[in-house]
Symmetry: C2
Subunit: 517 residues, 2 copies
């Protein structure tokens, strides 16, 4: 019985791969919501029989290596202290939420760049703990890892993947103006219809918006080149002992898992090794705790509104708190407010403050009418998953960017709760996005796991990598070809003119001669 051989061969290989060997996955450290997003992928990998080793710097704020878990944590001694990191985080939040409002654009940008520089210095401090520690590098080399999974927001993963000679899989939300994706991933992004990430533009741009988008790309490219690549390149070069381009190393990534999809993002060109896995952390709702369920049921037909400003914001100013509370007091819905600060004086009887809420389970509840959110991408994806319209109160980072996407898709308004509850189009659009989100051949989680396993099975994914990586910028844009063709045409025109003038002179000469004869 020889038929279906190659198919069987493949299936047998898959079975051996999954159950006997399993893969050996090394995971780069990351922070905050990036780590929250990485976890479900790692859990699923462990379910699939893989061994998962996660690097954790001693100065990590969000990763807890002492927490019981199914992953193996490998502690990395950072040259920084937790206190320094916490102080910086506070400084950054203070800048983003309070200082920015009172700053001019240039002043704000300069301050942002200053913070960005400090952040990079800290990131390289963490990286010291890996590449400058002989002990860690020896462990990694002996670890026989099959693949390195990393969020490129923390530099270093591409360097270590290159040193270890193993495939690299990125998990990316986005980078400023899609700079990494464009420069290092070689994704084409015509500024005419691909709005730069964080530019606050949509894909429908008028002339002036396209001018702004164009300038936005250009400025980010110049600035990042100046403050990011120069520093990282010299760090990498020092480690390797030879001139090393960090961007070129990033370009060797086999798969880019992009944590968005066309329910959230605007359609744009992509490359075969870019896989869109937005909503990788979403899951069905579970039943609510009894006290919360009772409060929810007490809302009757009016339903409930969920209000949270994310895990970073624990306290807001008294003034802001009173304003929000009195606005919420005026709606007929019951409101669940996740907040750990002082209860505002103007709190209405319809609003209840909770220290913690089961956000996903509430979003999946049929009584939920709207989600008032700061606009973090994790929360937005849960709302898309369950088809809940949103009210955005963007605070900082990518939150304005995310909410502009949701506004453009017709599922969110910014700062106006009654509209999304009473105008039926928001609910309809939310259900449409939810339908687009679910109507995929593969769930984002399965897709993410699939491509990591693919990289393990096939030792990377070279066949998906465009040849553009091997070209210089002028070759990519055919400028050398243009120059050559232009020179050719000019030469032909020159010869033609010379020949004409020569003939003309000959003829005229002859004529003159004839005449003179």
């Amino acid at each position: 019985c020889h038929f279906e051989l190659s198919n069987k061969y493949h299936i047998i290989k898959m079975i051996i791969f999954t159950f006997v060997n399993g893969g050996n996955v090394l995971v780069w450290y990351t922070e905050g919501s990036h780590w929250i997003n990485m976890k479900p992928l790692l859990e699923k990998l462990v379910d699939g029989g893989h061994r998962v080793t996660v690097l954790v710097p001693s100065a990590s704020l969000f990763m807890n290596s002492s927490e019981p878990s199914r992953f193996h944590y490998e502690r990395v001694e950072s040259s920084l202290s937790i206190e320094v990191m916490e102080k910086f985080m506070e400084e950054f939040l203070h800048f983003s939420i309070y200082e920015m409002e009172h700053m001019g654009y240039v002043q704000m940008y300069l301050r942002f760049m200053e913070l960005f520089r400090i952040n990079l210095k800290f990131a390289l401090g963490n990286l010291d703990g890996v590449v400058k520690s002989e002990e860690v590098m020896m462990k990694l080399k002996r670890g026989n890892f099959d693949v390195l999974l990393a969020d490129p927001i923390m530099p270093g993963s591409e360097l270590v993947a290159d040193i270890l000679g193993i495939p690299l899989v990125y998990s990316v939300r986005f980078t400023m103006a899609h700079h990494f994706e464009r420069y290092c991933g070689q994704v084409p992004a015509p500024p005419s219809f691909v709005p730069g990430a964080m530019s606050k533009l949509t894909d429908r741009m008028d002339f002036w918006e396209r001018v702004w988008n164009f300038i936005f790309y250009a400025v980010q490219d110049v600035v990042l080149n100046h403050i990011y690549w120069k520093t990282v390149d010299s760090y990498y070069s020092a480690v390797r002992g030879k001139p090393t381009s960090a961007c070129e190393l990033m370009g060797k990534a086999d798969i880019w898992l992009i944590r968005t999809y066309w329910d959230f993002d605007f359609p744009r060109p992509l490359l075969p090794n870019f896989k869109y896995v937005g909503g990788i952390h979403c899951k069905p709702a579970k039943p609510l705790p009894k006290d919360i369920e009772e409060f929810v049921q007490s809302s009757g037909d009016a339903g409930i509104v969920i209000f949270t400003l994310g895990s970073f914001i624990r306290n807001i100013t008294t003034e802001k708190g009173n304003m929000i509370a009195s606005a919420l007091a005026q709606i007929p819905q019951k409101v669940l407010w996740k907040y750990s600060g002082q209860a505002p004086e103007t709190l209405g009887p319809n609003t209840k403050i909770f220290n913690w809420i089961p956000q996903n389970d509430l979003l999946g509840h049929p009584k939920t009418r709207a989600f008032v959110t700061h606009g973090g991408s994790n929360g937005i994806y849960e709302a898309i998953y369950h088809g809940v319209p949103m009210v955005g109160i963007p605070m900082f980072a990518d939150q304005p960017h995310n909410l502009i996407h949701m506004k453009a898709k017709g599922v969110a308004v910014i700062d106006a709760i009654n509209t999304v509850i009473n105008d039926k189009s928001y609910k309809e659009n939310a259900m449409r996005l939810s339908s687009i989100h679910h109507d995929k051949p593969l769930s984002p989680l399965d897709e993410g796991v699939f491509w990591i396993e693919f990289a393990i099975r096939n030792n990377g994914a070279k066949h998906l990598r465009v040849q553009a990586h091997e070209l210089t910028w002028y070759q990519y844009h055919c400028l050398d070809v243009f120059a050559f063709l232009l020179a050719l045409i000019l030469t032909i025109v020159f010869i033609f003119i010379k020949a004409c003038s020569f003939c003309l002179r000959k003829c005229c000469g002859r004529k003159t001669k004839t005449k003179s004869e």
Copy 2:
């Protein structure tokens, strides 16, 4: 039990969709291997509970509406006769296989364009039978179709989809220089690393090859604009009674199913609504008929070679036949030759001629060592599926193009059978491509069916369509933005110079004055 609501809602919708309603799929007519490739998709759609209606022109050479089948055939009265079509096909084959060899490049191109024009005239003759027949158009309008599935090689589908106001799904192998995909589908294709289809180039191009690729794109664009779009646009405009751009209508296609994948094609930019389904017709091998199995087993360890030149080539010249037969006589393998012409005199004892062979079942046989092929994409995909190295004898159409891809991937040589059998790298590469082909989250057939059903469920796929479709060419390339910024910079420079010269005059003027004082 209210949890998992949106998920359940979605699943229930899917169940209702599939089992109660089913979709109503209209299929545009096509020819030859394009029709062979369409059929498995239609079969799978019927399996899924959809109704499939196929348009068949009375002058079709390859579609047989009287054949018993699970599709409903709708006959379209073409203004052409079968005889005229057959005569043209013969003429075209004669040109491609015999005449071309003795022609200069320009002469060949002119003749090709002449045949292309005739082909277009015939295609519009078939289209008359649909759009100019009130009876057919009435039937289509009353048919309540959910989606139109078409290979755009035959014009008209985009016009009819637009008239009926239903979503359009294309199934495309490729078009000359990717002209339709680039112009109408808005796929970016930088000539620096995306070789134009039929250019005979790979994605690794040196300077001169990039020059040639650039010119190749430019020439095709000019020529197709001249001989294709002008004619089709004026036909469409006459039918609609208003200026209509066929390319713009094509740009409204919801999904483009591209019948290739990264096992076959070179990685290149794509768009969210481009889905790669190469090998959609492939299936596991079935046991061989007894006489063929006996012949195959008689080959011993040396194994067998399968030799076919496709369904078009029934006869070759005596000279060529003798040459091929004597070459095949020299190898230790047994050869199965699919051929319906006169047996050549030099036929060796190891070679057996068959009127018909079960090609797919033979390719899946463990004794198969090599596949000698004309390079049709269907046969190549079957070889990839089963991991069989190839020897190419390209005859015409896309065959040289296809074989150059296989040569670049290291699984085929052109005109040299011993190499692929004895050099182990070809078999290894073939197994690697086969592995890439199978190692996908979804089979190409399932993916194709999924996106057709998606278009039915969601009334198209507007969320996957880039905004580039709404831009003019100079907006797309930001030329208006460039011009504006250039003007701005020039103005600033001009004002700066004027201001400087003004100040200079003032200062110098004052100095002169002071001095004179």
